[in-house]
Subunit: 378 residues, 2 copies
Amino acid sequence: MTVADGQEAIEHAIAALAPQCDVLIISGGLGPTLDDLTRQAIAAVLGVELEVHPLAMEKLTAYFARLKRPMAESNKIQAMIPRGADMIENTCGTAPGIAASYRVPHSAHSCRLFAMPGVPSEMKAMFARDVLPQLTSAAGGAALISRTLHTFGMGESNLGQMIAALMQRGRNPSVGTTVANSQVSLRINSHFPSRVQALAELEKTAAACRQILGDLIFGEDDQTLAGVVAQMLVPRYHLAIAESGVEGVLARMLSDVPGSNRFFAQGWIASSDQAKTAMLQIPPELLSQHAGVSESVAGAMAAQARQLSGCDFGLAVAGVADASADAFGSFAIALAHADGVLTRTFHFTGDRDLVRDRSAKMALTMLRYHLLGKTMPF
Amino acid sequence: MTVADGQEAIEHAIAALAPQCDVLIISGGLGPTLDDLTRQAIAAVLGVELEVHPLAMEKLTAYFARLKRPMAESNKIQAMIPRGADMIENTCGTAPGIAASYRVPHSAHSCRLFAMPGVPSEMKAMFARDVLPQLTSAAGGAALISRTLHTFGMGESNLGQMIAALMQRGRNPSVGTTVANSQVSLRINSHFPSRVQALAELEKTAAACRQILGDLIFGEDDQTLAGVVAQMLVPRYHLAIAESGVEGVLARMLSDVPGSNRFFAQGWIASSDQAKTAMLQIPPELLSQHAGVSESVAGAMAAQARQLSGCDFGLAVAGVADASADAFGSFAIALAHADGVLTRTFHFTGDRDLVRDRSAKMALTMLRYHLLGKTMPF
């Protein structure tokens, strides 16, 4: 629930949510300014006064002493918490958090409140250090562990049919599909009474997915397609690229990988025919013979990128990303390697951003399958 | 409020929110599947039955007839709405929306509910066609109009000091600052009894901001820095770029502008010394004399990009985006134009993504001020 910066609104939110949950995590509104009213709202809901917490005041005083700045009166509010509540120490800032148990009126239900600052770095540190251990302990060892397996190139419904048995409702671990950034990902949630069991069952389900989908799965969790390709290239291979229609899209995917200079240091952006000839020495005859999207042109771009750079691989994408053009979404992709040039044509759908993203990822996928020594299955 | 796919959860959410608002907009859960329970939850909260809406059923039947597909029994639920509620026509899909007035129990308060499908295209069309006009009319002509003015290059606190008078609390239109994508933006909200007045006051406040900040403001609302530079270049000027440390970041910013081929068709990614020499003919002596981040090297890259491409401008960024390097965040930026080469060095802070984003935007800003015929004020 998103709540306005008002004490009454925060009180209403706590009162509305607490009856339906065992734990309520609140973020934001614990600072010294007039907007910061979470502390007051919690005290009001609990029906108690705010009082100075000695340890919090000590830390706050020390903080201002370290800065050699006088502490404004308004700052003292940050050392106050509702009577009877627990302070959650803030190791990264001045505003401590609040932990309190709220007994829902006219009911036997009790809800544990955790209020943390809104500053992400402070909140994350506080959550990891104090809140999560309390939640883990309250869960009596039960654990929900998730993993995401990423695929690219096959549609969501085809993929869903392949793993239909694993996606059945009620299965634990559960398997669901999500689509983002042109990728279809499988989300596995494993929920068991113990962490060991949750992890073991997660691994079994992940293995079952991999058994069915094989190389369609390129990575897990925060792995990117470019990052996975990078791992296959380093330290042995170097890659040069040539882009037309995706100017910078493929380059940026590659260079978003930390340490990208170890496998990627050269690229050409050559959108116009003139640029292709001037930069990559593509013969004008070839360009005029093959107007529009052409595997011959993309193949020549890849071969020249490889040749001119002296890299192991030349990867070229040449297509139409101008949404008003008839050939919008058509892309020729080519990979030049030691033994020849592989070329393919694709017709992508979606808006300008999407077709550019898809064509760059398809280029990476062609390279990935080549490095796997396999034929791309689509 | 984010609500689970359960009828009870949806009922609780409506009951919790309705007492505090005049209008409650609900999105999602009107389809034919078992997860879609918004319709049932609204009927339960209102204490009425669901009944078939004749017009909705007619449209649904016609839809399946058009597809030449039999209509599954489960689909008929989509033509049902709570008795006494109004149907909101879905011009883009099969599930109609629901508009209903909910009288909060034990209170004189009434809340207007609008439930729309979750599919963004269907929801947006429905909102624009039916919901917004009802809201506008209910507001009695009062209007809140917003505009965002974008700046790049000056820090948030400096900028805030310059426009402190306009940012005073309680002012209407209000002016606030936000930071995203390395840009500091001013958000103006103008809230008045009439749309005409709201717009007139918005314009006055925007003009006051521009009066103070001048060329620091590069654009408004969904304008991008690259898009603004593109407008200044087209149709007269062409740009070539050379990137090292920001491989593809600057290229992609430029090519994200629709029709980018009209001003940007050539670029070099040359990260290693070897690539700079091979691709841009930067003399090896220059590179060895000026190890690390150097204006001389960036200047030579810009000049060669201009020279080799025959473009009006050559823009080069050469810096260190390897977070483990001592010089991390140092970038030399150069602009080659008809009368010479402009070079500058910057030390950016932030993570790898941020320093790359900042250096590319600073390069665009150097070009923008050159096209304005002015000196960059930072």
